[in-house]
Point group: C2
Chain length 200, copies 2
DNA sequence: GCGTGATTTTACCAGTTGGTCAAAACATGG
DNA sequence: CCATGTTTTGACCAACTGGTAAAATCACGC
């Protein structure tokens, strides 16, 4: 039985989550400090520790929320839908997440690059499982001749790579393009690429 | 006139570079400490600072070397070669770099994710320029009908994204696949994908 | 095997780090 | 407006941070 949140708790907890996301996504766990999060959230350091008992709890709470949002759209793929539309729809959705929630993408990227020390169990269990199911579905689609014969796992990696690239490497993308908004063209390109890859 | 290096200098400098690469690629600049680099290199902290005058110099030296290796294969693309072979060759080369030098890839990824504070000038000048030239070449190839009509910049981003994914997200890739070596199949998949995308 | 410069170590420092604690300030229902 | 629980603060700590200075040790040509 957890007590109901007071309005103050709700406001401050979310301010801390937001500040934590801002800081951790930029510097990773080790590179971030409670002082930065304190500054960013407008709360004092001891006050932050009143709401979350350690730096690590803030971090893992953020990662937990993130993984839920991450996995959901994979689970939502409709096995009875049109294969190409389903896969393209998933890619488009990931692309929107990169555009609208780049900090989450960077937080996750940081964690994985650093060897995923705090979520490797989720990767080998939940993620593995959910991806395998998706991969089997793709396999069955190509067996039925509905899409080209592709390696399902590596197709999924390609989708992740291309879509997350726009969030994680945003700085490089914009530097190379000269500060246009890369997303409209990027989305079209990824769609084109996947369609070419999948169309029989 | 810089003095010639003694064997000891050569050995220790390279030990520090190697240790720095190991540590910085895992934790980024802010998250890494001289103590970690000292431990990893087997030298004492003051001894490290005898060879490099600060933590930042180690880091920027590594980044500098990296960018040179990074840019070279783009410059080496032959405008008179077979377009598809040239692009696929470049992608294959990047893939090998991901396989053989994953730490460099992660170091670079960390730097970009963190907003590229120490190399943004290189990105907007040298990288921008070199990529624009490559993009123009791609454009001319598709104008001549030698490859499909694609957005050159975003094609390049896709190549970078897919190839570097295998280094930067190695942990996730292996977790999902269950510890097979992902590279042989990954390389084939990327090649297939690009060929589909480019063949008229 | 000695002298000189190259290398390494020891001891240290000031600033920052994550975190604690008790006291103070606040909110709010009665 | 008071009592009680909630929230916030200020003072503090031990460990760690990047970096310094000088002394000690080492390597090597003579």
């Amino acid at each position: 039985m957890s007590k109901p949140e007071t309005p103050i708790q709700k406001k401050n907890r979310s301010a801390i989550m937001n500040a934590g996301l801002e800081v951790f996504s930029k510097f990773g766990f080790r590179g971030s400090t409670l002082d930065q999060i304190a500054l960013e959230s407008g709360l004092s350091k001891p006050n932050i520790l009143y709401y979350f008992k350690s730096k690590e709890v803030i971090y893992t709470t953020l990662l937990g929320e993130l993984l839920t949002d991450w996995l959901k759209p994979v689970r939502d793929i409709d096995p009875d839908g049109d294969p190409i539309a389903e896969i393209l729809g998933y890619a488009a959705h990931k692309m929107e997440m990169s555009q609208n929630y780049p900090r989450q993408s960077r937080l996750y990227a940081n964690e994985i690059i650093q060897g995923a020390p705090r979520i490797s169990n989720v990767l080998t269990s939940e993620l593995h499982e959910v991806v395998d199911k998706f991969a089997q579905l793709i396999k069955s689609w190509s067996k039925k001749g509905l899409i080209r014969d592709v390696d399902p796992h590596h197709l999924i990696f390609s989708i992740w790579a291309m879509t997350q690239h726009y969030a994680d490497f945003d700085f490089q993308v914009r530097a190379v393009l000269g500060h246009d908004d890369p997303f409209p063209k990027g989305e079209k390109h990824v769609e084109d690429m996947l369609r070419q890859m999948l169309t029989v």
